[in-house]
């Protein structure tokens, strides 16, 4: 009778310990350390984590236990068995051995027996793991009922080992009589609950990630190719709409580095696309290439445009282009009385990546097209038939009159064609480009005999500067083709080069003033040169045209001066 009560008292105490033990397990489950435990591990680093965690639980189980009859009633078995089940026989063995040796170091008449039995328990878990894995039933490993049964069995084995190994035998019998029931019960239930905890955590995560991927996939699906067609107001508004519908946030904005491109949702009446960015959070995000979360609490958020704005918190995520450079932001907003859901905060960064990739893909596509186009154009330029046949006709006339001049003309023609055969992607020196233009103009001077005058002012110290091939020549050719050749009175072409503040400016002026920027008109060659420079060096550079009708047209080509590159090259040679 006495021993019965003792049983229940011991059971109660042990269950209490187990609760503390499980609370610790629960807390641990919130840390990343727990992640490898949520699946049946095969990889070595996971196994190591598994070993460390369950060894710790094993040792903890010993400490939480208490002295009974010169021995320790404990929940050590939970760690050992679970270690084996989740980590396999080797992990199980190692956990058991670690827990066992630790127990051994504490002494007592059952020290040796406990060390052996704990090792055996780990091994039992491990063998079950091995068995189920071989039968392709890994799913059963995470089954709490099975864990309960296994631990029960393992504890039974421990009792037997105690009886066999602990001396004196009579004391061992007394001990087992006392602790067998509470320990079997507590350890089995504890192990099963522990497994349940793992399962719960796993399910929550899965549910979350299912919801997450479903949302992310839907956004991805709906937004396919939208921004690839160009990072502009129309496409950004479409995109913002999709994101708002899918995430359900209060408002969505997309900006580039200067202005708002799209805004949808609460506050759309005063957040107008096309207006410059005014929010300090956005500036910060752009400048530091960082995600900014102004929750409206610790970090205050106030709409920078209108006092009456209902928006109360914002998440600003930079959009990144080539070389991780910030090209804009996407902003999610929630109204004042609503909180950002965790899901949307995480999703936001994913969306930013998706959009960044799309913009980048669009740019690459555009560059590809441009390259193809420029190559085609180049091919045409190489054999501009009108120029070629007129030049040959001029040559025919000059041969008759002045064979020596004709010889020179042939020389210019071959220089011109040789330079035209250069690849468009190559960089050349300004000297090279001037020689190309010079050969071209010499031919035109003879052809227009007296109707053309050329003034070239390019300082020698600029001649070594590098620029893309075919930057100057097409512009000069345009000036002749659409300017001078349309003049009844004599025409004049002026070419100047100058450097200032790290910028090389080439100026080509004609006195026709007939520039007419019509699509498909004379702008094509010029646009090509412009777009190529902008893509290569950024929008601060490129081609600019000024025209006073019937008086003059001035074309400015602005290029960055890359002295270092020029020097590096000259060292190579």
């Amino acid at each position: 009778m006495f021993s019965e009560i003792n049983h229940f008292a011991l059971l109660g105490t042990l269950l209490q310990q187990m609760c503390v033990y499980l609370v610790i397990a629960y807390l641990l489950s919130k840390t990343p350390l727990f992640a490898p435990l949520m699946q049946v591990t095969v990889r070595l680093p996971h196994k190591v984590v598994c070993y460390l965690v369950f060894s710790a639980f094993c040792i903890m189980g010993t400490y939480f236990g208490f002295q009974v009859e010169g021995a320790i009633a404990n929940t050590r078995a939970i760690g050992a068995v679970l270690g084996g089940i989740l980590g396999g026989p080797w992990v199980g063995l190692a956990v058991g051995l670690t827990g066992g040796l630790h127990r051994y170091s504490l002494g007592g008449f059952t020290a040796e027996a406990c060390a052996v039995s704990t090792t055996a328990e780990g091994l039992i878990g491990g063998l079950l793991h091995l068995y189920l894995m071989r039968r392709q039933r890994a799913d059963l490993l995470l089954n709490p009922a099975l864990v309960l049964g296994t631990t029960l069995f393992a504890e039974a084995v421990q009792m037997i080992i105690l009886l066999v190994m602990a001396k004196p035998f009579s004391q061992a019998v007394l001990l087992v009589e006392h602790i067998a029931f509470p320990m079997l019960t507590t350890n089995s239930i504890g192990a099963a609950l522990f497994m349940r905890l793992i399962l719960d955590r796993k399910e929550t995560l899965e549910k979350y990630s299912i919801a997450f991927s479903a949302k992310a996939l839907r956004i991805a699906e709906r937004s396919v190719g939208v921004l690839m067609q160009g990072f502009n107001e129309a496409n950004c508004t479409r995109m913002a709409n999709i994101i708002r519908e899918e995430t359900g946030v209060g408002a969505v904005a997309i900006t580039d580095c200067e202005k708002l491109l799209g805004f949808v949702g609460i506050g759309a009446d005063h957040h107008l696309p096309g207006t410059p960015i005014s929010s300090p959070h956005t500036f910060y995000a752009i400048q530091n290439n960082e995600v900014v979360y102004a929750d409206g609490g610790t970090i205050p958020y106030r709409c920078s445009i209108s006092k009456d704005c209902k928006l109360g918190s914002t998440l600003v995520i930079p959009l990144r282009g080539e070389g991780n450079r910030v090209i804009g932001t996407i902003k999610l907003y929630e109204p004042k009385r609503r909180l950002f859901s965790n899901l949307n905060r995480t999703l936001g960064e994913g969306i930013a990546r998706l959009l960044s990739n799309q913009i980048l893909a669009g740019k690459i596509e555009e560059q590809k097209q441009l390259l193809a186009q420029s190559e085609i154009k180049l091919l045409q330029a190489q054999i501009n038939p009108h120029f070629l046949f007129n030049a040959l006709n001029t040559l025919a006339a000059v041969i008759r009159r002045d064979p020596e001049e004709a010889r020179k003309l042939v020389q210019y023609l071959s220089t011109f064609f040789r330079k035209s055969l250069k690849r468009a992607n190559n960089e050349v020196t300004l000297k090279d480009e001037i020689e190309h233009v010079d050969a071209y103009l010499h031919i035109e001077l003879v052809r227009f005999a007296g109707r053309l005058d050329v003034e070239m002012a390019v300082p020698d110290e600029l001649l070594h500067l590098r620029l893309p091939a075919f930057t100057l020549q097409p512009i000069v050719e345009n000036a002749i083709k659409y300017g001078i050749s349309q003049l009844i009175e004599p025409g004049q072409i002026k070419i100047r080069a100058q450097r200032q503040d790290g910028v090389l400016t080439l100026m080509i002026e004609d006195n026709a003033g007939l520039y007419n920027p019509q699509p498909g008109g004379d702008g094509l060659g010029m646009n090509l040169v412009d777009r190529r420079i902008k893509i290569r060096y950024g929008t601060a550079y490129g081609v600019e045209v000024n025209c006073k009708p019937e008086s003059w047209t001035r074309v400015y080509i602005r290029l960055p001066i890359e002295e270092e590159i020029a020097h590096a090259h000259s060292v190579d040679y």
């Binding site: 008759r400 050749s485 009844i488």
Partner: protein, 238 residues
């Protein structure tokens, strides 16, 4: 004997063609012009049998120029071009003769054979028909210039020639009133006057059944009784 006129804006091209033509004793080059405007004047003045006409010229192309000459005054036209896919297609369609630069002497000889025999009439006049003019070449005080058609208020003839009155400039043109009436939307309102209906502000009726147009610029243009009906029709007046 054939008289020829060369119209080309490139001096070496004219020089080359003249040299080639020198090989044919029955061809006499009576003049050279560096643009279409000079060309029209020279055609009216010199009445050549044949014109070698470059297509790509400043402001007024060779093709446009043909449209500026009355069919009855139009000489035989031989187009000359270095390269012009558009024009060549049009020539093939109308069986118009043309030469490619640099000109082959044999090909030139063949063209001259056709011209001498008259067996193959060049059909430049066909090309000219249906063309509408965009601009009117004018000259005044040692200067050649063009007046866009929408700028023209009215055109009239007097003893010195055909006068074009534009919004900002005024000049004399080599084009005849007949060509201008046929190839522009201008309306004949008087034996000596064409008017641009877009610039009409008012029409004052006179006692004898004639009328007087006041343009937006306040200029007066007479309307004869004979042409009043036609003017009313084109204005959609009852």
């Amino acid at each position: 004997m054939l008289t020829a006129l060369i119209i080309d804006d490139e001096a070496p091209a004219r020089e080359e063609l003249r040299s080639l033509l020198e090989a044919f004793p029955d061809i006499e080059v009576v003049g050279e012009c560096a643009n279409a405007i000079e060309g029209i004047s020279a055609i009216h003045r010199l009445r050549p049998d044949v014109v070698f006409l470059d297509i790509q010229m400043p402001r007024v192309s060779g093709l446009e120029m043909v449209g500026m000459i009355e069919a009855s005054a139009l000489p035989q036209i031989v187009f000359v071009t270095a390269y012009d896919e558009h024009a060549l297609r049009a020539f093939e369609e109308h069986a118009t003769d043309y030469l490619l630069k640099p000109i082959e002497p044999e090909r030139l000889a063949r063209t001259l054979d056709w011209l001498r025999s008259g067996s193959r009439q060049t059909s430049a006049a066909l090309l000219a028909q249906g063309q509408t003019l965009r601009q009117i070449p004018c000259s005044g005080r040692n200067r050649i210039f063009l007046i866009g058609l929408d700028e023209v208020e009215y055109i009239y003839t007097d003893v010195s020639g055909v006068q074009v009155v534009g919004l900002n400039k005024q000049g004399m043109t080599e084009l005849t009133l007949k060509v201008l009436q046929e190839r522009t939307p201008l309306i004949r309102c008087h034996r000596q006057y064409l008017v641009n209906v877009d610039h009409i502000a008012e029409i004052h009726l006179l006692e004898n059944g004639a009328a007087e147009i006041i343009t937006h610029n306040g200029k007066k243009v007479p309307v004869s009784r004979r042409h009043f009906r036609h003017l009313k029709d084109s204005l959609g007046m009852p």
